[in-house]
């Protein structure tokens, strides 16, 4: 049953440019995929490790800015992409060492500050980042000669990345390390007694989460061909956290649903209401108040009588 739904969904996604041919919608779909990847990465920490971070936009931004800077200084696409991911992971390691001393609100605060420091550097180190003006890149990459300037080609490339990330996260959450990580969310003290190194497990989770966030940052750069400090702002951090929470942290597809929802609100609402952040903020507040588990668990509970958590 599950396998056929999965196959059907993937087929629908692959064929999207055919049943939704308008380029405008294809582009929106690409964006949803990119933000879904970001949300999936953040969820590794928020949902599985139980550590709410407001600093992942820092990692997202570091990847985007690294690639942007290298591309505008003559580096090849491959070099730029690899350097961007490497730097994002290195930064994630630093973030982890600084923030994993704490949990809960202290963790939130430390990651908030780290994210804001990154924002501050993007905003003020004008010589390198061009500050508020941002950095524009000349072209999207052309892996194996396939030009991604075409919206449909870019969509399929984004879809490929998305499916890859979903697959990797899926395997991870069902693996011994992933199961151990999820257990540390509930019972860190007991896990220590059982012989687990809780700090180190969280550290690896942070690196994994950082890598995915960096990948999302790269994709974002390729999509917009531009990066500015706004990508690292607190509102962006709140937005991606909302995607995770709205969809349902701790589930595999929750963040994906959340990303689609937030972006849909952004596009639909902004057609009717100029200030769609009010809608977004309201949804955020309502979900935290009434549906802290997020929409996916709530909806699934409606579909089935007994719900066993996806391992």
């Amino acid at each position: 049953m599950k396998a056929s739904i999965t196959t059907l969904s993937i087929a629908l996604l692959v064929l999207l440019p055919f049943w939704l041919p308008n380029v405008y919608y294809v582009n929106i779909a690409s964006q949803m995929l990119i933000w879904a990847v970001f949300a999936l990465g953040l969820n590794v920490l928020v949902g599985y490790a139980g550590l709410v971070s407001l600093g992942h936009t820092g990692l997202f931004g570091i990847a985007a800015y690294t690639a942007a800077w290298l591309l505008t200084h003559g580096a090849s696409q491959t070099t730029a992409a690899l350097a961007a991911l490497a730097l994002a992971v290195a930064a994630a390691a630093l973030f982890a060492v600084l923030s994993l001393r704490a949990t809960g609100i202290s963790f939130l605060m430390i990651t908030l500050v780290l994210g804001q420091i990154c924002w501050g550097i993007a905003y003020r180190w004008v010589d390198v980042t061009r500050g508020d003006n941002g950095i524009a890149i000349p072209s999207r990459p052309a892996p194996a000669g396939i030009r991604l300037e075409d919206p449909r080609a870019f969509y399929w490339a984004s879809l490929l990345v998305f499916l890859l990330v979903v697959g990797v996260v899926y395997v991870f959450t069902r693996s011994p390390l992933g199961v151990a990580l999820r257990a540390t969310r509930e019972q860190p003290q007991r896990m220590t007694t059982l012989g687990y190194d809780v700090w180190l497990i969280r550290f690896f989770a942070f690196l994994f989460s950082g890598l995915i966030s960096g990948l999302a940052g790269l994709s974002f750069l390729y999509y917009t061909k531009f990066v500015s400090p706004y990508a690292l702002s607190l509102s962006t951090a709140a937005g991606v956290l909302l995607m995770v929470i709205a969809g349902g942290s701790g589930t595999l597809l929750g963040p994906v649903v959340g990303a689609a929802l937030v972006l849909a609100v952004q596009y639909i609402a902004s057609a009717y209401i100029e200030r769609w952040n009010i809608v977004l903020g309201t949804i955020f507040v309502l979900i935290v108040l009434f549906m802290p588990e997020g929409l996916v668990p709530g909806a699934v509970q409606l579909w089935r009588k007994s719900w066993r958590r996806v391992w």
Partner: protein, 254 residues
């Protein structure tokens, strides 16, 4: 170098001059405790005597201010709790909080996994690991829960959960097992079950127990240590302790 053997017995656990204070309050004051291998030791004392703190010190959840802890002659005073788990210390907790959403089997598998290199593997599927499933089922069988191994923890009784906890500790194949009030909150029948369970634990495993429920625990214990205000008041066999006037003082305040 530490004495592993005293009077012909192998010493499993040795606490020497252990001190621990919180703020100005001294909770453990110069505790000396020596447990031989295979022994069944019971630690008793009124509320606030410092029994759980002692367990936390032995397990590594707390660092002592002064003194040493030795496990089979090895100084583990500075070792973190997880390292002590790998050296053979397992413990149960007073408040039974396990992984509620999961099955009994899964809970015990997590316990088995804790000491294996497999716990760092991000690729294979946890549920399918026979190397975890078998020992987990075996541990559950030892505590008499084999039939309900696949039931979610939330669908079990309190008594069954306490047994799961013991299964998890046994699954670690420990050398020293610390049992924190294993009989607390159990019905009479459940207490009998746990009693037989603990009776049946092989001699390779040294048992150290904290308990309030004297009846069941006293029958299991070979030696008893009485704590009061963080100090060892008296120690000995059951009859020795029962006869000791200092024990009377502690419990009757006479």
């Amino acid at each position: 170098m530490a004495q592993i053997v005293e009077a012909g017995l192998v010493i499993a656990l040795a606490l020497r001059n252990l001190h621990k204070s919180f703020g100005g309050l001294s909770v453990t004051s110069g505790v000396d405790l020596v447990v031989a291998q295979g022994e069944r030791r019971l630690i008793i004392g009124p509320n606030g005597a410092g029994k759980t703190t002692l367990f936390n010190l032995i397990a590594g959840d707390l660092r002592p201010d002064r003194g040493t802890i030795e496990l089979f002659g090895r100084d583990i005073t500075r070792l973190p709790a997880r390292a002590r788990a790998h050296l053979g210390i397992a413990r149960t907790f007073q408040i039974v909080t396990l992984f509620q959403q999961e099955t009994l089997l899964c809970n015990v598998m997590l316990s088995v996994l804790g000491l294996r290199p497999l716990r760092w593997n991000p690729f294979v599927r946890f549920e399918r690991q026979e190397t975890l499933i078998e020992p987990a089922r075996e541990a559950l069988a030892r505590v008499g829960l084999a039939e309900i191994a696949d039931r979610p923890l939330s669908h079990t009784s309190y008594g069954e959960r306490r047994r799961v906890e013991i299964a998890m500790a046994l699954a670690q194949h420990p050398r020293v097992l610390l049992l924190d009030e294993p009989f607390a909150g159990l019905s009479a029948q459940e207490r009998r079950d746990v009693f037989h369970l603990l009776r049946g634990i092989p001699r390779e495993i040294t048992l150290v127990m904290i308990e309030h429920d004297m009846d069941s625990a006293l029958d299991l214990a070979e030696r008893i240590t009485l704590l009061h205000f963080g100090r060892v008041v008296t120690e000995g066999t059951r009859s020795e302790v029962v006869a000791d006037p200092r024990a009377h003082e502690v419990y009757l305040g006479a």
